[in-house]
């Protein structure tokens, strides 16, 4: 294992600076996307913990799916952990998060409980939606997490509405809307870009470019594969970010959130990332080579990068990292036990929560 020290993702060096700077003439600021200050010890330890929690949680979810406890679709976030963890480290209390169906990581990052998420995956009473939403549809008002949406692209307009509400109320919050490289081709995304730019809405649009939409690679689906440029027709600046490096994500997140909070309107962050697993549990992922996956895993793994840093800098010993790992395994096992033992929702729940 030889993780690269540079901030670039293999084979996909962020595009030249000139191409990714603000597309808006009126915006004085230039976004570099290369501003990757090192983390301090606490930050690295925090990022390590958070990313590992997501990784272990997803592995466990995959296992429970295999055992038949989780039904239907189940989209794992393994490989993409640095994106939500880095963004969460940049956000402040009150910022809203909204995403699509690959949402377990986003929820854990916002601080939603592993038990509540896992129990929703198993369709149990103690799940965040009391078992009525499932893997793709979960919400937490308390953590400002607005779902969990199964219609590709819908969350982009909804997230723009959250930003509209922030502006309407004159508060300081920013909406953070995640969507995939596939979703980026939906029409409503551009309808939303237009309105967000027109009304200077505080929203960070995050394209999680994991190179595939189900079995379709970006090369086969998109005429402009530099997604950070997708806002240029609306004057929305964009930054391409190494989404496998949590520091790069956090730094870009800081820039983007500051841009929004200072009233300059929306911004796009294209996170160059990768999903290790298939699209959902039943996808054998035959559309890409094993080498491609293996290379990402061994050279760019977001968690391994932090782990090596922690060891190299002497910020943690192997034993200490093992202890963290054990803690996290305990949290995840506990959530799995809970999610298997918790009862299914009462039949009377069938007709509740339809109307207020």
């Amino acid at each position: 294992m030889a993780p690269t020290k540079t901030a670039s993702v293999s084979g996909r060096k962020p595009a030249a600076k000139s191409a990714i700077k603000s597309a808006s003439k009126s915006s004085a600021k230039e976004f570099t996307g290369k501003n990757t200050p090192d983390f301090g010890k606490d930050q690295d330890l925090h990022a390590y913990r958070e990313m590992l929690l997501i990784r272990r949680f997803e592995e466990k979810a995959g296992q429970l799916y295999g055992m038949g406890f989780i039904g239907g679709f189940c989209h794992l976030y393994i490989g993409q952990e640095a994106v939500v963890v880095g963004m969460q480290m940049a956000q402040q209390e009150g910022d809203q998060v909204i995403t699509a169906y690959r949402d377990h990581g986003h929820m854990l990052a916002t601080g939603m409980s592993a038990r509540g998420v896992m129990a929703e995956l198993t369709g149990r009473k103690g799940g965040y939606s009391r078992g009525k939403g499932g893997s793709m549809h979960m919400f937490s008002k308390e953590k400002h997490f607005y779902g969990g949406h199964g219609i590709v692209g819908a969350q982009v307009s909804l997230g723009t509405g959250l930003a509209f509400a922030n502006r309407y109320r004159g508060n300081d919050s920013v909406s953070v809307a995640y969507f995939g490289d596939g979703a980026a081709n939906q029409g409503q995304v551009y309808e939303s870009f237009n309105m967000a730019a027109l009304w200077k809405l505080p929203i960070v649009y995050i394209v999680e470019n994991n190179r595939y939409a189900m079995g379709t690679s970006t090369a086969r689906a998109t005429a402009q594969s530099n997604y950070s440029l997708r806002g240029s027709g609306f004057g929305i600046p964009g930054i391409q970010v190494d989404g496998m490096d949590v520091r790069a994500v956090k730094a870009a997140g800081d820039e983007a959130l500051e841009h929004c909070r200072s009233g300059q309107g929306p911004i796009i962050l294209e996170m160059l990332t990768y999903r290790y697993r298939g699209h959902s549990m039943s996808d054998p992922a035959k559309y890409r080579s094993k080498d491609e996956v293996q290379k990402m895993r061994s050279e760019h793994d977001p968690i391994e990068q932090v782990r090596l840093r922690l060891l190299e800098k002497g910020w943690a010993t192997e034993d200490e990292l093992k202890a963290i790992d054990k803690d996290i395994r305990d949290v995840v096992s506990d959530s799995a036990d809970f999610a298997q033992a918790d009862p299914e929702p009462d039949p009377s729940e069938l007709y509740t929560d339809i109307l207020l």
């Binding site: 965040y128 779902g147 909804l158 509405g161 039949p347 069938l350």
Partner: protein, 461 residues
């Protein structure tokens, strides 16, 4: 404790598969994420990854074994310091938790199944009393709608209007006339022509707690936005286990105007009224338009409010009251009668009202019910009436198949079969895209003569 590795289900439907290949052998060290085996399912060859760390203690199922049931123990993983001796003899396939986790209906005898709970009955309040001596003011539906919005915007800072041409232009049909002047551009928001997008923005704002009124220039264009109305607005409350919903009103003219052809003339009453999680209102009179729009804006649920361009200019009496709010979900008996029941709503009422007058001349005493709300539908009022008259005709402009009328007919047949003295007749638009030619357009819409004839038919006259 050694960890059992089980044969996984790798699709929602997989029950067994072939363990085609082991990629690790006994004694190999594995960490989470390592591929340990390949499994052939009914659809594809899939890789099995290790979830836990350890050393492969024993492979229990040989490579190449077919029909390995899901959840069979296939290998054992040893933890730090454990030896292979810790492994007992290979256990038989563990009882699949699948069966207990997922109550597959066909596996259980009918009696053991949890019974489906009864659908709760929606009780709608009665209309408020209008104090004697209240001044009645002749008002157009257009003014009534505007007044309703203005009053609610004065009352609640979270209410705002958005849509195409609602602000500067004062509304494509002048329903938002004067609102920009009174409330300013923050609360009266002109949008680009972007129905899908602004419907989503409205729902997002509603999820954040605002109370948007989203105007569609006409509901024909809301087809672009129907995904956000149904998948996002109507379903979020349920999918979030009650945590958040969308207090939003989608309103605008619906159905045929005049001579605008097929793409601008569709009635969506039956489309939206099928959706759990929505309320659907379709008023006829100005008083109902005002009282129900105020109720819709206050309602914490998503409400689809279907207006009609032709009715905008019609005048009706509206009580002059500070706060005139009507209950959503309550039908109104437009005229009492004893011989036959007509049920209609929205612009359908214009045909019904005229037919009732003609029939009166012929000695047929019609009870005319204006549904006003299509969802939740006030069926009890209809059933009560049918119990009295024994005869029912429904009138609407929409397409005839799966219409609101056929829904009412089904439910009356189920709930009041013994009271019926004649088959229920449903009058609707014809089963054609709206034609442009004046004569054909007239033929495509229902007409008073058809209503009169239908009533006579059910009265055997």
């Amino acid at each position: 404790m050694p960890i059992d590795i089980l044969m996984p289900a790798l699709s929602p439907t997989m029950e067994e598969g072939t363990l085609s290949k082991w990629l690790k052998k006994e004694g190999d060290k594995v960490t989470s994420g390592d591929v340990i085996a390949e499994i052939e399912t009914d659809k594809a060859t899939m890789e099995v990854e290790a979830v836990d760390e350890g050393v492969i203690g024993k492979l229990l199922i040989a490579a190449g074994t077919e029909n390995v049931k899901v959840n069979t123990k296939i290998a054992v993983l040893l933890q730090d310091g454990e030896s292979a001796d810790a492994i007992g003899s290979p256990a038989p396939a563990k009882e699949a938790p699948k069966a207990e986790a997922q109550a597959a209906p066909e596996e259980k005898p009918a009696a053991a199944q949890a019974s489906v709970p009864a659908q709760p009955k929606a009780e709608a309040a009665a209309d408020p009393d209008i104090p004697a001596g209240t001044e009645m003011v002749m008002t157009t539906v257009r003014e009534a709608l505007r007044d309703a919005m203005a009053e609610e915007m004065r009352r609640d800072e979270d209410v705002f209007v958005m849509g195409e041409e609602v602000a500067e232009y004062q509304g494509a049909y002048k329903i938002t006339q004067g609102l920009l002047q009174e409330f300013g551009p923050r609360r009266v928001v002109d949008t680009p022509i972007t129905e899908h997008g602004f419907a989503g923005v409205g729902v997002g704002a509603a999820m954040a707690g605002l109370k948007p009124i989203v105007e569609f220039m006409t509901f024909n264009f809301a087809m672009q936005a129907i995904d956000q109305i149904i998948n996002s607005a109507a379903k979020t409350l349920y999918m979030s286990g009650g945590q958040m919903g969308a207090p939003i009103v989608f309103r605008g003219p619906n159905g045929a105007a005049a001579r605008v052809g097929a793409q601008h003339s569709q009635d969506y009453a039956t489309w939206y009224s099928q959706i759990p999680g929505l309320k659907v209102v379709m008023p006829y009179t100005a008083a109902d338009a005002k009282g129900l729009l105020k109720a819709a804006i206050r309602d914490p649920n998503p409400v689809v409010f279907l207006e009609n361009e032709i009715l905008y200019g019609h005048q009706f009496e509206v009580p002059k009251l500070d706060d005139f709010v009507l209950p959503i979900g309550k039908a109104r008996i437009h005229k009492k009668g004893n011989d036959v029941t007509i049920v209609s709503f929205g612009i359908g009422m214009t045909y019904a009202v005229k037919a009732v007058a003609e029939l009166e001349k012929e000695g047929i005493d019609v009870e005319l019910i204006d549904l006003r709300t299509l969802r939740p539908m006030d069926l009890p009022t209809v059933i009560e009436s049918v119990k009295k008259t024994g005869r029912l005709v429904t009138v609407e402009e929409g397409y005839p198949q799966n219409s609101v009328g056929t829904e009412i007919a089904t439910r009356v047949m189920q709930q009041a079969f013994d009271y019926l003295d004649a088959p229920i007749l449903t009058i609707a638009g014809k089963d054609v895209p709206m034609p442009y030619a004046a004569n054909l357009e007239k033929l495509a819409l229902p007409n008073v003569g058809e209503v009169v004839q239908a009533v006579k038919t059910v009265c055997y006259k």
